[in-house]
C-alpha cells in the first residue's frame, strides 16, 4: 500500500516520533508504514488520517496487482 505520510509529515514539520506519539504507536511502526513495508489496520489508518485531519483515501492508496 502506497501512502503520503512522509510528505504530509514534512509539510507539518512533524518528526516520525511526533506522529507516532499522536496516534499512540511506536516510531518503528511509523517508519515501516511510511516506507510501505507494513500495512496498518483500518483503525490505525483512521487514526493517522485523523492526525493529519484528512480522509484515509487522501493518504493511503492501494497498489494495483498487490495482495494485502
Amino acid at each position: 500500500m502506497k501512502n503520503r505520510i512522509r510528505v504530509l509529515r514534512a509539510e507539518r514539520r512533524w518528526s516520525q516520533a511526533d506522529l507516532a506519539a499522536q496516534v499512540g504507536v511506536s516510531r518503528n511502526s511509523i517508519i515501516s508504514i511510511e516506507n510501505g513495508h507494513f500495512d496498518p489496520s483500518l483503525t490505525l489508518a483512521f487514526d493517522i488520517a485523523a492526525a493529519f485531519e484528512m480522509k484515509i483515501e487522501d493518504i493511503f492508496e492501494r497498489e494495483r496487482g498487490k495482495s494485502a
Binding site: Q22, V23, G24, V25, S26, N28, S29, I31, S32, I33, E34, N35, G36, H37, F38, P40, S41, T43, L44, D47, A50, A51
Partner: protein, 158 residues
Amino acid sequence: MTPRPQSRPRLYLLFLAFCIIPGLSVIAAIPWLKTQPDNLVFLLTGIAAAITILASLALAILHDRSMGEWERSNSRFSVFWGDAIGTSLVGLLLAVPVFRDWVVSIVTAFSGTANIDAQSVILAFVGGFITVVMARVLCMALISIGWTFWKSRPAREV
C-alpha cells in the same frame, strides 16, 4: 485516537521477581536439597518451575497489552518461525557427532559417573528440555531483530 494501554512498572517488577526468585531459591537451596528425598526435591523444583512459568505468562500478557499492531506482527512472526527453527535446530544438532559427544560429556560431568543411571537419564532429559527452550528463545530473538531491521529498511525508490 486509539489509546495505548499504559505500561505498569510495578506489576512488571512483581511478575519479574516471581520469574527470577523461584529459580534462584532452588539454586541457593541445592546443598540442602541434596540431603532431601527425591520426591520432595522434584515437588519443590516442580513448584518453582510452575511459579516461574505462570509469572512469565502474566508478564507476557501484561507486555502484550502495551504492544501496538506492528510489535504484535513482529511477535507473531518471530514466535512462529523461532519455534519451528529453534526446535528443528536441536534435532539437527543431535545428528552432529561432536554435539552428541559434548552432551554425553556434560551429563557425565554433572552426574559424576560414566555409567548411565536414573540420575543421568533425568539430567539428560532436563538438559534436553532446557536446550530446546533456549534454542527457541534464541531463534525468536534473532528473528525478531531481523524482522525489525527488515521492516524498518528504507523505501525502494521507483
